[in-house]
């Protein structure tokens, strides 16, 4: 049985998300599929594709039914359907930007969240910002489709600070990866 080789799978996309080449080489070195999780999340997408779920309000989760699209410093902002931690938008960072001095982890856990403005599902990478003590502001813990440790890329308790110079957890961003269905 051949082991999976991260370098052979969509290297361009991988590099895009991995950012600097030093990080990409870290990813190659790890060589493991989980690294690609934020880019190619396993289950939400494939299940979404398979089931072609109805996105009507009746089948939305409580979070999706009550989410808003105006204020990304609140826990009910639509992208935060599976976030756990301090919102970087409240810590001197942005929705996809780390606060000064903090470093985005190249790997992350992912969520599939519905944007109430268009009713569509999007893939969100919850990229932790690392290397500073916990920010403390705007703590949220949303759990739509959040699972347990044996599906780590869908677990929001893991300290997702791999390949960063420090694994100290500062805050979490919600990076839009693409449409989920």
């Amino acid at each position: 049985m051949k082991k999976f080789n991260a370098d052979s799978m969509g290297e361009k996309l991988l590099r895009k998300f991995a950012g600097a080449s030093s990080r990409r080489s870290m990813l190659s070195r790890l060589g493991a599929a989980l690294v690609a999780a934020p880019v190619f999340p396993l289950l939400p997408v494939s299940r979404a594709e398979a089931a072609k779920p109805d996105r009507s309000p009746e089948t939305k989760t409580f979070f999706a039914r009550t989410a808003q699209t105006k204020d990304d410093t609140k826990c009910d902002y639509w992208r935060y359907c599976a976030i756990d931690g301090a919102l970087c938008t409240c810590c001197g960072g942005g929705i996809h930007s780390c606060p000064p001095g903090a470093e985005p982890s190249p790997v992350s856990w992912v969520g599939t969240c519905i944007n109430p403005d268009d009713g569509k599902a999007y893939l969100i990478a919850y990229r932790d910002c690392c290397g500073k003590p916990a920010c403390g502001q705007c703590g949220c813990d949303n759990t739509d489709r959040e699972t347990q440790l044996y599906v780590p890329q869908l677990n929001n308790d893991v300290i997702w600070c791999f390949g960063t110079s420090s694994m100290d957890y500062h805050c979490s961003t919600a990076v839009l990866v693409g449409a989920a269905s």
């Binding site: 299940r47 409580f62 440790l149 869908l154 600070c161 694994m167």
Partner: protein, 391 residues
């Protein structure tokens, strides 16, 4: 202005010397005031007892505090930093802490180790270095110990999934095994260990020397749609694990070289209400919390934190504790809690005590027989709770 610093200092000292001389002479004159100066010392502690519980400080407070459930008194503390995992030697001689330390707090060189504490002095005995471990809080099954106490298994994720195996007698790393797609460990006596996997199976890793031979059961649960809480309970005497899913399905698995899993039953059905469902909009009672269930091994009673809500509320604290007779598949009692609780454990004693805490870090001790609160301990810790298990 004068260069008086040393002079002043010396003068003050002379004053104090005189004062103590005066004190020494004065004492015999007044027998009532004659007191012997006390000596400072350090106490020792008993090995772990079935009535004790160990509560981790969680994210905010370092240290795992040891309390006696009967008296509500603190007995000591094991040094667990944020995201460390503690395990108790089944023989009661040691406390083991799997931890990750940087040489400069949050920077510098990473050091992963199992740190060994003597259970009577609570002194550090030694450190066993290992290649890594996952940083995550509130997990009972990322650091487990074999039933005979000789081997420690520490889950690693860097971010490739694997397990470090440590010889606790010889105090050295035996090997690091890759275990893709699986986590949440349980002992498998005579074989090695088992784990839950993302395909819904149990993996069993048979250890031969430094190699692991990985086999899987048939998938039996939906890892993404109705996951099993990874804080499940293992029973050393029955060699059996009890699992609980987000919707409230309860499974037992006999652990062996080829584990066998029972047909599940619904905790809601066992209480005479509608079965839990994974669909949105269905408001029902669901299990939830960080450590949502506790098993009383001798009686097979499972205690589950339950809350009313919709599906995907699996981290919500429990408003009730449901006592489930697992063999009879019946909820025999529902305890209404005064405030929502996030972690639950039960003493493995004849008269079981429930230990629960919530966001506030206050531990509530409840007598299962009466449903009464025996103790409420402030600032005890908000993390997971551990008890001594029968073996």
């Amino acid at each position: 202005m004068s260069k008086t610093s040393f002079r002043i200092f010396a003068a003050a000292l002379c004053g104090s010397l005189l004062a103590s001389a005066a004190l020494a002479q004065a004492a015999p004159a007044d027998t009532k005031a004659s007191v012997e100066p006390e000596e400072s010392d350090t106490l020792t502690i008993d090995p772990p007892k079935p009535t004790w519980f160990f509560v981790d400080g969680g994210w905010d407070m370092p240290g795992t505090s040891i309390f006696d459930g009967e008296s509500g008194k603190m007995k000591g503390m094991v040094e667990t930093r944020r995201l460390a995992d503690m395990a108790i030697d089944p023989a009661g001689k040691y406390y083991y802490v799997a931890e990750t330390i940087w040489s400069k707090n949050d920077r510098g060189t990473r050091q992963d180790m199992v740190t060994v504490y003597d259970s009577k002095t609570l002194n550090l005995v030694t450190e066993i270095a290992m290649p890594g471990r996952l940083l995550i809080g509130s997990r009972k099954n990322n650091f487990i110990i074999s039933d005979d106490g000789k081997t420690g298994y520490i889950y690693d994720f860097s971010p490739t999934s694997g397990v470090n195996i440590v010889d606790l007698a010889k105090r050295k790393l035996i090997t690091a095994i890759e275990l893709p797609g699986c986590a949440s460990l349980m002992p498998n006596p005579g074989v090695g260990f088992s784990a839950l996997c993302s395909d819904g199976s149990i993996a069993t890793v048979a250890i031969k020397g430094t190699k692991g031979d990985i086999t899987h059961t048939a998938p039996f649960f939906a890892a993404s749609d109705d996951p099993i809480f990874d804080n499940f309970a293992y029973d050393r005497i029955k060699k059996q694990t009890t699992f609980l899913t987000y919707t409230g399905q309860i499974y037992t698995a006999k652990i062996s070289a080829t584990p066998t899993v029972s047909a599940p039953f619904s905790i809601q059905a066992a209480a005479g209400i509608r079965v839990g469902d994974a669909k949105p909009l269905d408001v029902n009672w669901y299990p939830g919390g960080r450590q949502p269930m506790a098993l009383h091994r001798a009686t097979g009673m499972l205690f589950v934190l339950m809350h009313k809500g919709e599906y995907w509320s699996h981290k919500a604290s429990g408003d009730e504790v449901w006592q489930v007779d697992v063999a009879a598949q019946k909820v025999v009692k529902r305890f209404v809690l005064k405030e929502p609780m996030n972690n639950i454990e039960v003493s493995q004693t004849e008269n079981p005590l429930l230990y629960m805490n919530g966001e506030k870090g206050e531990v509530h001790v409840m007598d299962v027989a009466t449903g009464e609160e025996k103790h409420k301990i402030e600032k005890a810790g908000g993390g997971i709770i551990t008890v001594l298990e029968p073996s």
